[in-house]
Amino acid sequence: MSLLWIPLLTIAGIVVPVMTSRHGRRTCVNATLVAPLLALALALSQAPAVLAGDVVSLQIPWMPLLGLDLALRIDGLTLLFALLILGIGSLILYYAGHYLSADEDDGRFLAYMMLFMTAMLGIAMADNLILLWLFWELTSISSFLLIGFWGHRSDARRGARMALAVTGAGGLALLAGFLLIGQAAGTFALGEVLAAGDVVRASEHYTLIVALVLFGAFTKSAQFPFHFWLPHAMAAPTPVSAFLHSATMVKAGVFLMARLNPALGDTALWSLCLTLAGLATMLYAAWFALLERDLKGILAFSTVSHLGLITLLLGLGSPLALAAAAFHILNHAIFKAALFMSVGIIDHEAGTRDIDRLGALWSMMPLTGTLTLLAGAAMAGIPPFNGFLSKEMLLDQSLQTGLLGALSGIIPLLVVLAATLSVAYSLRLIWSLFFAAPKLTREEKAQPPLKVHDPARGMLAPGLFLAVMSLLVGLFPMTLADPLVSAASLAIQGASTPELNLALWHGLNLPLLMSAIAVAGGVVVLRQQRRFAAVATLFPARDASRIFEAAVVRVIKAALWLTLRLENGSLQRYQALLILCALAMVGIGLMKLDTLTGAAGLQSLDAMLVLGAALAIFGAIGSALSHRWRLVSILMLSVVGLMVSLAFVRFSAPDLALTQLSVEVVTMILMILALFFLPQRPPLLVSGRRILRDLILAVAMGLVIAMLNYALLTRETLSIADYFLRESVPGGGGSNVVNVILVDFRGFDTFGEITVLTLAGLATFKLLNRLKLFMPAGNVEGIRWSQQRHPMILAVVSQILLPLALLVSVYIFLRGHNQPGGGFIAGLITATALLLQYMARGHDWTRARLPVSYPVIAVSGLAVALATGVGSWLFGYPFLTASFGHFHLPLIGDFELASAMLFDLGVFLAVVGATLMILVNLGRVTTIHRPSLEER
């Protein structure tokens, strides 16, 4: 379990700085350091086993169906990275405490750093591909927050955006790659994937996998051609650059390639991609490092170059090259973090990072100078520093490779060239900063010279520690580095490794000569630096951020163009497009059908059917044709509704017929009411072209639907009906299967449905608030409407009908479980009967006799239904489990009382409440009781 504590500690560490930042900078930093240091100790406690070659792992199932486990591991490679992340990370946190100016939000900064640390640690420790990917994305997000920490600066915002876009795109590609790997290997567990390397390499998608994974890794590690985001990420505060852009995040890509080497590596494709990308990156970035004027820019390009070096080593792929890659990851992190810290110090003290404005700093800041000198020498690869050792190994391995066939000799040449450039920019950094005089323009010379001095010891200490480490590792590689590097290279290779012989002196050999050439060449290049700079001016400067921004702007413009095309604010346009898409899709489906008529037998027609169909068609076409004569249109619509109800009667659906009929009544009342508020005769403003288009769309859609329905009707269908028919009486206690389905089998659906109904009612309540009315006094022809508001005959008849209707509705409700009927229908009948009272006698009269609040009724109906459902929990059953029993009442006879009945009562109340809420409110608007401006 101690494995789990390592990330848990750093997660806990995220909140520590936020909580402690008000107690002062020092307390905050010290408190924040506790978690990573403890985590480091925990990681180191696993070291003995790991260095002996074991893999310590922990598996906790998380989402086993997705293959996602909370699986962690520590092997040599993880240990190496954990040391960098937690060790160098702690030093940088300490350094950041001194670097940030007093008024900056250190709590937020340190919290972001800890978030990033957690994410990075997760990548290193994950033993599951999906988990690894989750942490990978988290590093992208947290690095976005860190690069953009100074959000008031536009370069910081732009740099952060670019980093997120590039690494985010890589992350998505990586996910696709991982999914393919998982598919090929049959598992997402990292250990099993690494062991199944042969299967993955033989997979048909291997090329695609390599492309996707390398896209992710190259974007993250800023490899050519995705290198451009890293120099712009230097807008971040320097501790961020030191941590993310030298020691850790950009190493994530390299880490990934190393991690997956046993599964994907050792093929020509893999080696070639890595070698070529590595070589190109190494040379290209080293050249730009030489030309750059911004100190952090120099370090950024040099980082890119060194990452290229590591990629190249991974591409060479021999056991010693892989070991050298692991070794260089360690070495580079040490000296580059130290260099970033020293540049941060100079920026902090001098207020500028322009290498031309700085110079002759040695006398003023000797300690910073020493730090830069040590770390810079390591970067140049000069003995006896650690950078020399891994570079020697690269030179040696570049001579051994036969990757490019007869062209292989070009690799050592290019490596020496890159090493030469590397010596040159390292020496330039040291020489221009500390020994040469600043190259000032005339105006700058007029200003007083820079007065700088060494910073507080706390700011120097972490950098000096790392610089001394790079010397010590160079001097005693076998003691300090060999165990770790051997364990890491074991993990990279997935098989046993040859004995490493890390030493400064290997005798006089070819690599040593190449090193000497590189150093000598570097000095020459440095002396001629001005000429190189002059050559560089021949090429037009290409600012990657400009290109990137321009691309983003282009994408946005294209999206805008498309959006304006599709979304011009016309509902008619949207609907036409939607129908067109639906047509296309259904059309494709129909095309795949061999024949429209299926195997099922056809039924014969009779006169009633033909008459009904004719009436329905007449009604539909009539209502479409007469849509400007709105009352006629509604009447035509009601013909269709009636025919639909009759169709339900004919085809054995009594429940549906009853429901349709009662809904029909309520809908018609609603529509006629609404007519009162809408224009009576809209102007005819429509072009023939538009009518033709709509007709074509409508007829095509109707045709397609008719064909679809015909195809459906003439085919035998498999149904789950048997289950419901069988279980209705024994399981649900009712013989009306439709009702049993509604209140019992699929009670949850019904519950959702009455909720929607109630919500619609409540929403209309709100919509009718503060309504401005257009109330006409007469019809289109100008005839005033009748002033006799409540005809006597209707009033009398409706009063007589009310008790009868309520009786019918109770009857329908009670028998609903066994005979056609139920809560829905009973509710609608009750609502209609009450509505009739409103219509016959007016709102005031009815209101005085029926002082109830319909929203309360609807909501209490919901409450009853919910209580019935929850009630089954009390008896230890799942939500909405129904129970029932038989009872005998005198006169009425035997009947069943089921808990489903109570649920149906809830349905009944909700339907009554919601229906009346809608209609009575709309009706009320015409009276003096309309919701006023005060009522909200």
């Binding site: 539909a620 659906a653 429901t659 809408l678 149904s719 699929r746 709309l922």
Partner: protein
């Protein structure tokens, strides 16, 4: 008979779609109702069209598939809730905008199309 049923459903759909594409709120509401009828009939027919076989145990020898009935019953009631909401939305839109055009503007020839 299957062909006739399909024809009715198709005509209802076509009329519904045509009305949906009109520029005023009221025809759109009518169109929506017509389309609901068509959809309900379509779904209903997926259980088979049979006479004298109501899905009530004991009332018929071989009851028809009750599931589409339950689904359509739900759809009818939800359809009512939706129609009611749209109707009142249309009333409200007219009162706010002074027009019953679906795009919320009293248009010229070009807009109303």
């Amino acid at each position: 008979m299957e062909a006739l049923f399909s024809l009715v459903v198709g005509v209802l759909t076509a009329c519904g779609i045509y009305l949906l594409l009109r520029g005023r709120t009221f025809p759109v509401i009518i169109g929506l109702s017509l389309l609901s009828y068509a959809v309900n009939l379509f779904l209903f027919s997926s259980g088979g069209l049979r006479t004298n076989s109501a899905p009530v145990i004991g009332a018929s020898i071989s009851p028809t598939d009750p599931l589409p009935h339950a689904l359509v019953l739900t759809a009818i009631v939800i359809g009512f809730a939706m129609t009611a909401f749209v109707v009142i939305l249309a009333v409200r839109a007219r009162s706010e905008l002074g027009s019953d055009h679906v795009d919320g503007q009293q248009g010229e020839e070009g807009d109303t199309r």
